[in-house]
């Protein structure tokens, strides 16, 4: 009877694989994980993704290696009568350990996620009209208005001017107020690490602090009808000086339009969405 100690052997294989693979995954994949580091929030999400990936790797290896191991070693011999396996119906120790370990893992994940969410002021996600945590210090409010099928942006502190492309100053906390004039849209600026649904009659607030100058994509990520796929454009993060010049020019350039607009409000009562109406 020279059956190897499968439990020990498998534990060894899994242990070595995890010890090798997990740091490799973190070191190699971590830096290239989306959404990049051009804002505080995006950088936070990269950290979050890296931590989750680091935790997922051993679990993935456990099950995949287990499948491979059991498929290789625990099979019916070829030919001959069908052999029966051992009539084991459970193992209280293994089950208890499993429950304890998974519970600890899950609770720590939830705790970590909550801590990250709160410490990062919503981590770039739409946090509703009254966010649980609000960053201290001065903030630049910018309103994002979704309508079929474009986003426009209003700067309430600059006379409520409304522009078709988002421009944000670097190094300043931005307070995005996302709302919609018709159906549900979702404002997704991937490189900024921001996503917030635009609901009619709702002022959905998200905080983001750009740290790098450059362009970013804006897409709608909630199905909003015919041209949902075309609802994308680009925005820019510029230096504070450039922003000051740009917003002055914009105020002048869009002055006639601003006059025609309704006064700035956190939400706008939408037109009836009836067909043909």
């Amino acid at each position: 009877m020279s059956e190897p100690n499968h439990a020990r052997r498998f534990a060894l294989i899994w242990g070595i694989a995890s010890v090798v693979a997990t740091p490799l995954v973190i070191v190699l994949l971590g830096p290239i994980l989306p959404p990049g580091k051009s804002t505080e929030q995006a950088a936070g999400q990269v950290t979050d993704n890296t931590v989750l990936l680091g935790m997922a790797t051993p679990v993935l290896l456990l099950v995949v290696l287990y499948l491979a191991y059991s498929s290789i070693y625990f099979r019916q011999p070829k030919g001959g009568a069908v052999l029966e396996g051992p009539a084991v119906r459970g193992d209280a120790r293994v089950q208890t350990t499993w429950i304890i370990v998974t519970t600890a893992l899950v609770l720590s994940l939830a705790a970590y996620g909550t801590a990250r969410l709160l410490s990062d002021n919503g981590a770039g996600s739409g946090s509703g009209p009254t966010p649980l945590t609000v960053p201290k210090g001065p903030k630049l409010p910018v309103q994002v208005i979704g309508q079929q099928w474009a986003f426009t942006y209003r700067y309430p502190t600059y006379g409520g001017v409304e522009v078709p492309h988002l421009v944000l100053p670097e190094g300043k906390m931005i307070e995005l107020h996302v709302t919609s004039l018709d159906v549900i849209h979702s404002f997704w600026a991937r490189q900024l690490g921001v996503k917030a649904d635009a609901n009619p009659q709702v002022d959905n607030i998200a905080f983001v602090e750009p740290t790098k100058v450059g362009a970013f994509e804006v897409r709608c990520s909630e199905l909003c009808g015919l041209w949902h796929g075309e609802m994308f454009d680009h925005g820019r993060v510029v230096t504070q000086a450039e922003f000051a010049t740009w917003i002055q020019q914009a105020q002048v350039a869009y002055a006639p339009a601003t006059k025609a607009l309704p006064p700035y409000s956190t939400t706008y009562l939408p037109e009836p969405t009836r067909r043909g109406g």
Binding site: S70, P77, L109, A110, R116, T130, D182
Partner: protein, 632 residues
């Protein structure tokens, strides 16, 4: 009492064909369905022709279409004979269990109260609509070969996406419960029938009517909302939206009745000795699913009723301009919608754990843990729905709670993994096709579960929400979880149902092609999503073109694997017709101990159970009988 009365008496052979076509059958049903549709259309126009101004401008009339659909369904059901019994009861005739039925092949084309016939009907019917949903997926991937709308217009594209999603989410809820639970749960319980055979038949025919109605949306302009039907886009959409509403409402009713029937059967009709702790694990998973169906589906029906009223008589449940809220729809929809995804997943758990002992020749490892895992998932799935709304701004201060509840649900799901892995430990596995599909489930659902950790974590979800990442995640859990086990069940049980066996070589080819193509299709989607492609768009960034092309080609191979399956079915079941051995898998479960084909009365004697069906394996400490492991 004898059940001889239940056996259909042979039809007189001399009966002419035209005489047999008159009566309550599918032909009458279609005729009355069409008649009812036009009657409803006419009545609907009389009700609302002048009341709503926009209808004249746009030649749209939701009232007419909704009434037409409802009348059509009622006519269809009357034609099948579903009204006969209620009317006879109204007149005070005594209760009965079965309808008088056609004999022979005709049984499969009408109202039949034999649970085995209903199981077969479900298998074919659901297979048909699964095929339509699959063709939609192929068209979607064809369009995504280009980064701009080329193959279909943007309107057709979102309609395709909506039809694919709705068809799959609606039809496949009954994908395992319909065919396999209807067929095998009564047998596994040692019963002769389901508790309510007419309701059982009704669930099937409702589902068929529903599937037809959803397909008919192409005649009314399709619908732009995807399977979630979010308001107020729902309210804004053209008449095709009504098809979605009626479809999902009918599916909801069918689901609720199916679950009710299953639960009543499992609770009341277990044979002597079949205690709760001896119940096959598949029956447990059906029970857990049924709980979700009975409680979650009514909320869907209520929600869609509100949506239909918003669209017709101008109520304002979801219309912000009238005092309603789009959040209300999201809340109600996902209160149904999250249990719904477990309605899809749970039967898969049951199939895997039911089949693994057969192919590993070991008892199910951790029976109680598996049961508590299923019940835990059932309970928790009612408390997680707002994780679909992490970035919506709805109740943002509840997000830590929903993050916690969502992540806690992975504990009972983990039990299922542990039980599967425990059963594999020191097993004597033989890798028949059903076993391969079960092992593939372990891998797929693992990827699905681990990617679920990313979407359940709010900061990570900010990036992944509404992107292809999420789409890949739920395809791993639903296609990788449900559809793979669906095929495991087909390869395992259809030989019992038909008495014929599948071609093994084609089946293996199907499995490997499907498994590889599935992963090759959906693994890259995680990356595509992370790189910025939202769901349901036919326009994407040019730098994602190469990956999308790869995914599309893989998807076509996945489609090809389904064609191989169809070819195998036609080849094995119609042309070659090799009879199956009495118990080809050497299963100890009761359905394999009774004759093939299963007689109409299932059992001559009501069986008495003295153990669970996992009595495999040799006791460990019987000296010397333990053979050497194969790889040692």
């Amino acid at each position: 009492m004898t059940t001889t009365a239940a056996v259909p008496t042979p039809q007189p052979t001399g009966r002419p064909l035209w005489r047999r076509l008159i009566g309550f059958n599918l032909l009458t049903a279609v005729a009355l369905g069409v008649g009812g549709y036009y009657l409803g259309w006419f009545i609907g126009h009389q009700i609302s022709a002048k009341s709503l101004a926009y209808q004249e401008k746009t030649s749209e009339n939701d009232v007419a279409l909704l009434v037409a659909y409802l009348f059509g369904v009622v006519g269809f059901l009357i034609g099948l004979g579903f009204a006969n019994y209620p009317v006879s009861r109204l007149l005070g005739r005594p209760a009965s269990l079965r309808e008088k039925e056609e004999e022979g092949i005709g049984r499969y084309f009408g109202l039949c109260t034999d649970h085995k016939v209903v199981g077969m009907q479900y298998l074919i019917g659901i297979g048909l609509f699964f095929f339509i949903g699959g063709v939609n997926a192929m068209l979607i991937r064809t369009e995504l070969l280009h980064s701009t709308p080329t193959f279909v217009g943007p309107g057709q594209y979102i309609s395709l996406v909506g039809m694919h999603g709705t068809m799959m989410m609606g039809m496949m809820t009954s994908g395992i419960l319909g065919p396999f639970a209807n067929y095998f749960v009564p047998i596994m319980l040692g019963a002769r029938r389901m508790a309510f055979p007419r309701i059982e038949a009704l669930t099937f025919w409702l589902l068929m009517a529903a599937g037809f109605i959803l397909t008919s949306t192409i005649f009314f302009g399709g619908f732009p909302t995807g399977w979630t039907g979010y308001e107020p886009l729902n309210d804004q959409a053209v008449m095709g939206m009504d098809s979605y509403i009626i479809f999902f409402a009918l599916v909801g009713i069918s689901m609720c009745l199916l679950g009710l029937n299953m639960m009543a059967t499992i609770i009341t009709m277990r044979a002597p000795g079949l205690t709760w702790s001896r119940l096959p694990i598949f029956v447990w998973s059906v029970l857990a699913t049924a709980v979700l169906m009975v409680l979650a589906a009514p909320v869907l029906v209520a929600t869609l009723t509100m949506a239909a009223l918003d669209r017709t008589i101008d109520t304002s449940f979801f219309i912000p301009g009238g005092g309603g809220s789009s959040y209300l729809f999201e809340n109600l929809f996902w209160f149904f919608g999250h249990p719904e995804v477990y309605i899809l997943a749970l039967p898969g758990f049951g199939i895997v754990l039911e089949l693994l002992p057969v192919f590993t020749r070991k008892p199910l490892w951790g029976y109680r843990l598996a049961v508590s895992g299923m019940l835990g998932v059932t309970l928790l799935s009612f408390f997680v729905w707002q994780h679909h709304l992490f970035v919506s701004g709805i109740n943002a201060d509840l997000r830590p709670f929903y993050m916690l509840s969502t992540e806690i649900i992975s504990i009972p799901t983990g039990f299922i993994f542990l039980c599967a892995m425990g059963t594999l430990w020191k097993a004597r596995s033989s890798f028949s096709v059903p076993m391969l599909f079960c092992l593939a489930w372990v891998f797929n659902f693992l990827i699905g579960g681990l990617s679920g950790v990313f979407v359940s974590d709010t900061p990570s979800d900010t990036s992944t929400h509404g992107s292809f990442f999420t789409m890949a995640h739920f395809h791993y859990t639903i296609m990788g979880g449900l559809i793979f086990t669906f095929f495991a069940a087909i390869y395992y049980w259809v030989p019992k149902m038909t008495g014929l066996r599948f071609n093994e070589r084609l089946a293996k080819l199907h499995f490997w092609l499907m498994f590889i193509a599935f992963n090759s299709t959906f693994l890259p989607l995680f990356a595509i999503g992370m790189m910025g492609q939202p769901r349901r768009v036919s326009q994407y960034a040019p730098n994602l073109h190469a990956l999308n092309t790869w995914v599309s080609i893989s998807a076509f191979v996945l489609g090809l694997s389904m064609l191989i399956f169809i070819a195998n079915t036609v080849y094995s079941m119609i042309f070659v017709r090799l009879p199956v051995a009495m118990n080809p898998w050497r299963s100890k479960s009761i359905e394999w101990q009774i004759p093939t084909p299963v007689p109409v009365y299932n059992f001559e004697q009501v069986p008495v159970f003295d153990s669970d069906p996992y009595d495999y394996g040799t006791p460990i400490h019987v000296g010397g009988t333990r053979p050497e492991p194969a790889g040692a």
